[in-house]
Symmetry: C2
């Protein structure tokens, strides 16, 4: 089933590479917002050092682990040692190595429903038993997790995208973070706090990370969304024994990361004033796009579908109301949408147990405002065509 | 046991980072031979393209797969399709993903004895049963493999470093390649032809790859030894179904490689005249170092130890004669050697079943001729000190 889902999304993404299709399906930063000139300057500087082209330490070059320890430590409100940080090849590798380090086949993993598909893929490959906890506007419904625990569920890992959830866009509320941290301590499970989007807040910074509230948390993040995906720099921080286990696994998986792109990332992340300005700019630009997309959906689909407020990250979530004569199945709608020159990801691609057939994910990050508005018009056209078709068929 | 070995080597490598120690232990290219200026030029050019900083295709950017298909196809003597190539994060990742794609727990894997430790680590992590076939001056003793097969051994995979073996330095003879290919066809196992060093020949090009002789071969190579480790560009080519399985696994492992370093690698590998000149220069420089190291060992250890002729790659192999009163244990010698300011890797680190306690690996690639000569003198000093000590103790 997961294979099917994965291949369906992949086939879709292949289609959406066609130049006549506006894709709101991906989760790509806009290359125009990537600080390419700054990366080139930094690359030129880094490449004056002969060590820049050599193998790197398996856990990442020290300069990068230091700046990450500083930045993450500031979020945690405590000093973080560089030995508590491992640099990975994107945060997807952190997730994959953690699944190997923390899970045995048959172990239970709790995910959010809907869930990040990359996490589902990793946990299923680890032969874990995946259990879903529903999400609402305040993120994972921790009270549902708590009743499951009371009833005997003993997960090895709980995975959460606490900030600007992919695909739902929501933020885990502060009180739920506190409760989740307490439950991790009481029941002894690991929390994987997967946070690639946390810096991309539009209105207010996100609450303290779960990792600030418990030692049973491994926090993941990435330079892909704030600097550039092509650096392939992600990281995790957590207890030393977890870092050491991940280091051994990374040695077998790929020996080490690129000292070149790691030095570039270290240079950019350590340049505080530049980074602050860059992040402010990114938040403004992505935030403006989010607003435009949400307004366009509200305008075109008034009375037909709702759309979540987009307060950060890259995605918003649309849900067709169920009161129409023939409910919309977004997997079916996608076919018509592609004929109308627009693509999205159907809700079913992210579902674990929940029925998400009337929902879909839109990415506002990659396209300009004009294109977003045009895409939503096309989507409305597809909806009308699809509705007409279902009338004819019935 | 493998964990112990791995950690022993790691502890050793930590020690050898001390500036007062000449390390012949690593397997690092000399940064002075890495075309850093050319990489910087290429990086500047690549970074004019906004796509250079975006996510890449999971199997690698097409421009790189094309040039790899051309180059590998030329070695095979047939056209290779870019869809038969997957770019990986160094060839270690190719090995790791192949182990996941081709092996189930309990499957048998044949390795050479001594073996590349990175392969042992991967196969043991895959819970394979590792069976060793001895090496001699002509590479893997394929007749031993053949008798094992006749007696009922049914491996899923046979792993070989056919060119300039790590750690032994030897080349698999052409007739043995042909026989290995026939056996793969007859018995239906996969050959992993792991070839990071093949371009680094000093006297004559290597025989045709095993992959030219059978469809049951997945060939691995890397830009790390000829361009730069920091590009983290390795690759495999093989049957499409294997490539597709590896693609799915890579998607879960780390989504994709770096489009930035892949474009740089593609640019350098596609520049035929520059590359040919660069490789000629590399062969000359590493070849000169190999000669100096071998001569120094023959000179300092005449009558005490033999050293393999170094015809390519990065390593030569030294073996103490067994006729002395107290046979040398190179794991013990290493301690004294470090006190004398020189490091190597003891043979035991690479052994699967064979007793390699009187043998050791030396890397001639990283250090200049003067330093190599000095290192061998220090090693002789360590040997004398060690011998004196064992006389005192006995």
């Amino acid at each position: 089933m997961d294979r099917l889902r994965s291949s369906a999304i992949r086939d879709l993404l292949t289609l959406t590479a066609r130049p006549d299709i506006v894709s709101l399906a991906g989760g790509l930063p806009d290359p125009a917002f990537i600080p390419r000139d700054r990366i080139r300057q930094e690359m030129d500087r880094v490449l004056t050092d002969p060590g820049s082209v050599q193998y790197a330490e398996t856990t990442g070059i020290l300069a990068l682990r230091k700046v990450l320890a500083d930045r993450e430590g500031a979020r945690l409100g405590r000093l973080l040692d560089p030995a508590e940080v491992v640099v990975t090849h994107g945060s997807q590798q952190a997730l994959s190595l953690l699944a190997q380090a923390l899970l045995d086949p048959g172990d239970t993993v709790v995910v959010e429903d809907p869930a990040y598909t990359g996490a589902l893929q990793v946990f299923r490959a680890a032969e874990a038993e995946v259990v879903a906890v529903p999400l609402d506007e305040d993120g994972m419904d921790v009270s549902v997790l708590e009743s499951m625990l009371t009833q005997g569920l003993r997960p090895a890992v709980v995975h959460t995208v606490a900030n600007f959830h992919n695909p739902r866009g929501v933020v885990l509320a502060a009180d739920r973070r506190a409760r989740l941290a307490q439950l991790a301590d009481s029941y002894g499970f690991w929390v994987i706090e997967d946070d690639p989007y946390g810096e991309l807040w539009f209105e207010a910074p996100t609450p303290d990370p779960v990792a600030a509230l418990s030692d049973r948390v491994v926090r993941l993040s990435s330079a892909s969304k704030i600097l550039a995906p092509a650096l392939r720099v992600g990281w995790l921080h957590g207890p030393r024994e977890v870092c050491q286990a991940v280091e051994l696994l990374k040695q077998g998986a790929d020996l080490c990361g690129s000292s070149l792109t790691q030095q570039v990332a270290a240079g950019l992340l350590a340049d505080g004033p530049w980074l602050a300005e860059h992040l402010t700019e990114l938040r403004g630009r992505y935030g403006a796009r989010a607003k435009v997309l949400v307004a366009a959906v509200e305008n075109e689909f008034a009375g037909i579908a709702s759309v979540s407020p987009a307060v950060g990250g890259m995605f918003c979530w649309m849900e067709f109301y169920g009161h129409t004569a023939s409910p919309v199945d977004t997997s079916v709608l996608l076919q018509t949408a592609i004929e109308h020159g627009v693509a999205f990801v159907p809700g079913a691609a992210f579902g674990v147990g929940a029925d998400l057939s009337s929902q879909l994910r839109l990415c506002f990050a990659t396209s300009s405002e004009d294109v977003l508005v045009d895409a939503v018009r096309r989507l409305r056209g597809a909806y009308d065509g699809s509705a007409a078709e279902s009338v004819v068929q019935s």
